[in-house]
């Protein structure tokens, strides 16, 4: 993780969006004064994150690890962290050095703590702060509140919804509701990304793996069920899943034969999210895996 060359910050309680926009402008100017010339704003997206308070620390850790890789504007929405109709803000402009470049590149982070009233319609708060003409990625921390207005509100403005179904208590039960969202918004799942090295290994087992009857996975429920759903949907037939819970994906056994461990280093949470932010459009293979995760 690279450290910012310099970082400007502004905070305010009970603020308006105009004050936040002004703070961004002022911080950018102050940031430029620290360097020889203007910092570059080479944004490729707006990154919106819905971060309930229990995910606050984890979200910042991830963000700090990826600001340099995606120097865009990140807007963190923390619901219920202020009085009813209050909006509190913390705005940062961080400048990162670029190899071989004299100038710096600027990343902007806007944390908005929303009172419960404000949290009902977050899109109306986010909309004025979006960088126009660029895609909007919405990272949703924790379980998706299926059927609630807040989810509809934010997915309505996002081009891509990024989740981690490992953060859910009952991922298999919720995959059915998740599948209903696929026609509304493109979905990325960090748990799915974690299965990639294992999917590569399984694909290399072709054609034997094509006759697979039973898949035994030692790992979290979400990736285990996604792997099984993937095999079922790609092979278009039943595959039994034997799931042994563990904190990380530790082993995969196909019809009694254990696969070698992937040689790729596991990615950090920042790298995992970064990878998802480089994906555009619907991921049909994932969608089919989600739909098949509930079928034996």
């Amino acid at each position: 993780m690279a450290t910012a060359v310099h970082l400007e910050e502004w905070t305010g309680e009970n603020v308006s969006l105009a004050q936040i926009e002004e703070a961004l402008f002022t911080l950018r100017r102050e940031s430029c004064e620290e360097t020889e010339g203007p910092d570059m704003r080479t944004s490729v997206m707006t990154h919106v994150a819905w971060v309930p308070p229990q995910w606050h620390e984890a979200a910042w850790t991830t963000l700090e690890g990826m600001a340099e890789r995606h120097p865009s504007r990140a807007i963190l929405l923390v619901p219920g962290a202020a009085d009813d109709d209050e909006l509190a803000a913390r705005v940062q402009v961080a400048a990162f050095a670029l190899p071989g470049e004299r100038r710096h590149v600027a990343a902007e982070i806007v944390e908005l703590r929303l009172g419960s009233e404000r949290a009902r319609s977050p899109a109306s708060i986010v909309m004025p702060l979006l960088i126009s003409g660029l895609p909007v990625f919405c990272r949703w921390r924790g379980r998706l509140p299926f059927g609630e207005r807040v989810l509809e509100d934010l997915t309505g403005l996002a081009d891509r919804l990024v989740i981690d179904s490992r953060e859910w208590d009952d991922p298999v039960g919720d995959y059915e509701h998740l599948a209903d969202l696929f026609d509304t918004v493109a979905v990325s799942d960090i748990s799915w990304r974690r299965t990639l090295p294992w999917r590569v290994l399984l694909a290399q087992e072709w054609p034997e793996v094509g006759r697979c009857q039973e898949l035994a996975v030692n790992g979290p429920a979400a990736p285990a069920n996604l792997l099984a759903g993937w095999l079922r949907s790609r092979l278009d037939r039943k595959v039994k899943l034997v799931h042994e819970p563990a904190d990380e994906l530790e082993s995969v056994v196909v019809d009694g034969r254990e696969l070698p461990k992937p040689t790729m280093e596991p990615l950090s949470s920042s790298e995992l999210l970064s990878a998802e932010l480089e994906t555009f459009g619907r991921e049909r293979v994932y969608e089919a895996a989600v739909s098949a995760a509930r079928r034996e």
Partner: protein, 502 residues
């Protein structure tokens, strides 16, 4: 590699991009190119797991090295020139797949032995007779190698031939080499490298032109005043006197890199991005380039001067260079592409050694706004719109536009809107050789030069060189650290224009 129809698990996986099992044979394996470019590129591909699972490398050269010597030299090269951190596990996998044979290319018996050894490696590594031969050897060694490889090609699997530049010395020698190649190989088995085509920014020229609706309608003689292409180097010949004395700037850069940049800038949109569609369009441009007359070409040779504050010797003082050498280290030319799109639009091109800085740019200067409604004094700082593609360094694109200076009056200035690769995409750009090696293994020739392109390039160069035989300029005619001879400035001044100097 099975297709996604044969193996449905491949869909959406990066594995679908991996080449088929193959054996890469590098001739000239003890040379500088293998050390600086080929092995660091192979390591970068291994690092990203882009090489096939069943893969082997055989280095062949005259140096009397063992397998371990070769691996040791290549490990040092990867550590020094690789763009990724050095990881033992990645290197160990690559080293395990690597072997070396000391070989005299002219010795038939040694070639026979090599053939038997390649069959052995095929069997051991499961590479199925698929071979990529990389000919990183001097031009003189090329015909013998092509003949030997052709005669001894594997009975099964596919064969691909990667040929480094220079491809021939002139049109006649290039044709001769092509004839020899075609005796044993089909054109789609031949991959002639011009590493400029592997650069991200050069490929971005196609993205800029053909993925953006705003540029193509104005990419023509009606809106563009002229084009300037610069391939400038601040370094000298770096001990390569033997090669450079024979090649000069015209064969070293102009014949290949420079004419490729002209072709990519001027070509019509291809119907798709397949090898033949792209190369067909480039050939049309090369065929349309009007042979420049002697007044439209300037050559130069650098004398003693200062580069980056250090006094550097003149070309004739470089080790190994003839003290009366007439080899050009600088070429500038005014080219015309005789077609509907570009008629009467000059393409000013220049390349040289020991220029003030390293820079490769394509600058498109648009015509001035027909009637700016501002007072003359307000717009005196305003220059025509300029679109600059920075190939290297500071890879990216910038557009110069006129903007109002903040304040009460109406004062206009030129400002730059920049897209810098390193700023928008926080990933390191792959080295050209990584892309080209991988493409050759996959059999994708889009970024390689086809025989008819080479032929047209040499036709242009031969006509320029023929005119040079009629006079003997007073060399050296520019000091190291300057932008070339005064006559290069005159080339544009006669047209009421000037070279971009920054």
């Amino acid at each position: 590699m099975a297709t996604t129809q044969e193996n449905p698990l491949l869909e959406g996986l990066p594995l679908a991009q991996t080449p088929e099992p193959c054996l890469l044979v590098v001739f000239g394996a003890s040379g500088d190119l293998t050390k600086r470019k080929i092995f660091p590129a192979l390591y970068a591909l291994a690092f990203r797991r882009l090489l096939p699972e069943k893969f082997a490398i055989l280095g062949a050269a005259r140096s009397d090295w063992s397998d371990d010597d070769f691996r040791g030299h290549m490990e040092a090269a990867v550590r020094e020139f690789g763009r990724d951190e050095f990881r033992e596990d990645v290197w160990d996998r690559l080293a395990e797949a690597t072997s070396y044979r000391s070989l005299d290319f002219a010795d038939d018996e040694a070639e026979e032995e090599l053939t038997r050894y390649l069959q052995h490696v095929d069997e051991e590594s499961g590479t199925q007779g698929n071979r990529v031969y990389y000919l990183a050897v001097p031009p003189a060694a090329m015909p013998t190698l092509v003949e030997d490889i052709g005669k001894r090609r594997a009975a099964q699997g596919w064969t691909r031939l990667i040929i480094e530049k220079p491809f021939g010395y002139d049109q006649a020698s290039a044709r001769e080499l092509n004839e020899l190649i075609w005796k044993h190989f089909t054109e789609d088995e031949v991959f002639r490298i011009d590493h400029y085509l592997g650069k991200e920014t050069v490929q971005n020229m196609a993205a800029l032109r053909f993925a953006n609706g705003i540029f193509e309608p104005i990419w023509n003689r009606q809106f563009i005043d002229h084009v300037q292409i610069t391939v400038a180097e601040s370094i000298g010949i770096e001990g390569r006197a033997n090669y450079y004395e024979r090649a000069g700037a015209i064969r070293d850069i102009f014949q290949n890199h420079m004419l490729q940049l002209v072709a990519l800038t001027a070509m019509e949109p291809p119907s798709d991005f397949t090898a033949d569609s792209v190369r067909n369009e480039k050939v049309k441009v090369l065929k349309s380039i009007h042979t420049p007359g002697p007044k439209h070409v300037v050559r130069g040779e650098y004398g003693r001067g200062y580069v980056e504050g250090i006094e550097v010797p003149g070309y004739r003082e470089e080790p190994g260079v003839d003290p009366t050498s007439m080899t050009e280290t600088y070429v500038a030319a005014k080219l015309y592409v005789d077609n509907w799109r570009w008629a009467d639009t000059p393409f000013y091109v220049r390349t040289g050694k020991r220029l003030p800085r390293r820079e490769t740019t394509i600058a498109i200067e648009f015509k001035r706004a027909p009637h700016p409604p501002f007072a003359e004094a307000a717009a005196e700082e305003l220059r025509p719109n300029l679109l600059i593609v920075h190939v290297q360094p500071d890879e990216g694109v910038s557009l110069a536009i006129g903007a109002k200076v903040p304040g009460l009056g109406m004062k206009l200035r030129t400002v730059h809107m920049d897209f810098v690769y390193g700023g928008a995409f926080q990933v390191e750009m792959p080295e050209a050789y990584e892309r080209l090696l991988l493409d050759a293994m996959r059999g994708d020739a889009t970024l390689f030069t086809r025989a008819d392109e080479v032929d047209e390039q040499w036709a242009i160069v031969d006509s320029i060189v023929a005119a040079w035989k009629r006079d003997r300029p007073a060399f050296p005619n520019y000091a190291a650290g300057t932008w070339g001879p005064p006559s290069a400035e005159d080339l544009l001044r006669r047209d009421g224009r000037s070279w971009r100097h920054h």
